[in-house]
Structures are given as C-alpha cells and as structure tokens.
Symmetry: C2
Subunit: 232 residues, 2 copies
C-alpha cells in the first residue's frame, strides 16, 4: 500500500479507496513488477485502458452540456486539447502523482518519473482505479476539481473562440449587431491592461479586461456567454 | 417524428424514446436541415460527438471485465476493431438505420445513404441519443444485443489470439503443457474440416473444428476459455 499517496488523496481530494490493491496497481509500472517477482504485483496498463475511456466520456458529456450551442467541430477540438498527453501530464503533476509512481531502477535512472507519457498514463490509470473502486460519480467529482476549472482559467481558450460562440448564440433568431468598445487602457508600457465593453444591438452586455484588446474582447464575450447560460 | 424508425426500434429492441426530438436529431443530416429551414431542425453531429464517447466506455468496460487476463495491447487492438468505422457501419445496417436517415436531395443522389462514414456517424448519434434519453443502462442493453454477440461469433478473432490468451490464463500459476492433437479430418478436398482436441497437462479440455488446423485450434482454445470463465 502506498501510504503517502493515500494520505495525499485524502487530504487534497477527500478520496478514500476501498480496494487498496487497485490504487497500488494504478501507480505501479511494469519495470517495478519485474524487479519484484513473486509478490503478485500488477502493473497499471489494463486500468489505464479503462481510465482513458472513462475520462473521454466524463469530459465529453461535460462539454456537451456546458456548451449547448457549440458545434461538433469545436467540441472535438476542445476535447482533444483537454484529454491530450500534455494536459493529463500536467494534471498528474498538480495532483503530485509523480511522487508516488513505483518504477524499476533503470526507469528511475532514465528520468521516467518526469516523462510526460508516463505521467499521462498514470493520470488515466488513477482515474480508471477510482472508477472501478467508487464509480462514475467519484470520477466526476475528481475531474470537477482538477480538469474543469482550467476551462474557466482560460487554459483552452486558444481552442475556444468565445467571440464566435457568442455570435452563434445571439444570432440564433436572426442578425444581431455586436460591438466591442475600448473603454479604458491602464498600466505602463510593459503591463498595459485593456478594458472593453460588449454591446449587442445597443445593449451593454458585459465588460472584459486583458493584456491585449483581443484578449479583453474574448473575456467580455465569455462573460456574456456565462450570463446568458445562467439565465437559461 | 420518424414513425417507421420508432416502430422498428420498438419491435426489434423494445426501445421507446421519451424525447422524440432527440431521436429525430440523431437521424438528421445537415443537408436535410439546410433544405428545410425555419423548421427548427437540428442535425446529428453534436449527439454523435457524445455517442462516440459513450460507445468507447461501454465497449472498454465490457472488454476489461470479460477478459480479466488480457494485456492492454490486445484490449486496445480489440477495442479498435470493434469501434471502428466499418464495424459501426455494419451494425447500423443490421439495425436498418440506413432506411431512416434524413438526407438532403444532393446527398441522397450521391449515394450518401450507403456511405460507411455516414452510417458510422448515425450509429454513434443513435447511441448518443439513447444515452441522453434513457441513460447508460439502456445503451448497454442495446450494445449487448448488437455488438457483443459478434465477439462470440468470432468476428474479431483476427485480433484476439485465443491460443495465446489460454496460455496466459493457464500459466498464471506456473508452466502448463498445452497440446493440440488432430483427431479428425473430414470432407472433400474443397470443404475439408479439421477437428482438434486440446490437452493441458494431460487433461482433455475441449475440442474445436475449423476449415484449417489453425482455426480448429483457435476454436478449441476459445471453448476452453469459455469453460474456465463460466467456472469462475
């Protein structure tokens, strides 16, 4: 049993595994199993296979429901940005999962512990283990803490274009005149902040700030979208 | 409402949709929506996005549980064979889904109705709609009828190697001597049938027939695996 991992999960996520073997399996690489024969150890790969699909459905359903007007192409690009190796690897590190992986000596020496592909695998295998141990709701709760806030923090904004999305939402029932007006420009040459106001058919909808006019506009559009959704 | 589709689903799968709009959406291509503006129609693509992930998790979890000894590599190959375009397109046709797709005239004339990529999309969008309407259990019930029996019918045997799998299962606790003995060869030159007997550590486990010795051995191994699993 990887005690420190269990403490970490309890403290940071209030997650308590019923089946400790499952959690051990999720954090054990084949190289470690090979170095400890006759201990009946299992390595993470089968659980990772399952975890991959669990993350796909949880992320897909969340995006589908959160963005009811978003066309499939954008949903697919957004999902791909969220479930890709680099993202999962970052999430794994945020959760301190890198500390608890059981590796063989050769793998350890070769720096596997910080390898993006391994960290991504472990994020998936942990999710798979959580799913097997406690079902889908527990996975959703975990992902609500670890993945979904990144959407609001703008981590995937390069994939989502809030301005286009707002246009689609507002123009469902016909043309709407959408205007972004610069209302303030503060800070010095190197820390300039722009603030814009979003006006749709003459009505002020929202304001947004950013280090460029483009970012300020995206933020204003995103705020307007949140307001519209909260009213639905 | 696509009435004939609803009748077909009720008769063949005992499936009754609560939200008829959802089912319509799942069977409507963008080309049809474009030809019928101002009817507030939606096309299948968003639901297909969701259905794709639903099928992934349902198939993954089934394989994970059905083959508890199967290594990840083989699970992944098997899943890929099951969830790929050609397979989904065949399943869609088996379910008569091709009959009910709502297409624009141009698409119809270009033969889209029999296009593998469209049929695959519709299989996914139907699954997505079923999931939204009735939840995961209903999807599992559907897939139990449409996809999983294909495993037993040997449709994916080119991906699964039953002989290797049996070896893995039998040798979990140490070496086992597995032998396949040809016990009969019947039929003429062009319809030859081979029958083999599978013997593990001197004990007769099963028999298998096939149009080649190799196929007969695979079938015998598969039978032995089924017997072992049914005892677990």
């Amino acid at each position: 049993m990887i005690k420190a991992l269990e403490d970490d999960l309890a403290q940071n996520f209030n997650i308590h595994f019923n089946n400790h073997d499952l959690l051990d399996e999720a954090f054990t690489q084949a190289s470690y199993v090979n170095e400890h024969p006759n201990q009946g150890l299992k390595f993470y790969e089968r659980i990772e296979f399952l975890g991959d699909a669990v993350l796909q459905i949880v992320v897909s359903e969340y995006l589908f429901k959160r963005y009811p007007e978003m066309p499939q192409g954008k949903l697919t690009r957004l999902r791909a940005a969220m479930v890709k190796e680099d993202s999962f690897s970052d999430f794994a590190k945020e959760c301190h999962f890198d500390r608890y992986i059981r590796l063989g000596k050769g793998e350890e020496l070769s720096g596997a512990r910080q390898r993006s592909s391994l960290l991504c695998d472990i994020f998936e295998s942990f999710t798979g283990a959580l799913y097997l141990d406690q079902g889908r709701d527990a996975v959703e709760e975990f992902v609500q803490k670890v993945i979904f806030p990144k959407l609001d923090e703008g981590r995937f904004d390069h994939v989502i274009d809030h301005k286009s999305e707002l246009q689609e939402v507002l123009q469902v029932h016909g043309d709407v005149d959408i205007d972004y007006q610069l209302i303030a420009e503060t800070g010095g040459e190197n820390d300039r902040v722009f603030e814009v106001e979003l006006i749709a058919d003459g009505k002020k909808l929202s304001r947004g700030k950013g280090t460029s006019k483009k970012l300020a506009e995206q933020n204003a559009a995103n705020k307007a979208l949140q307001q519209i959704k909260s009213k639905k």
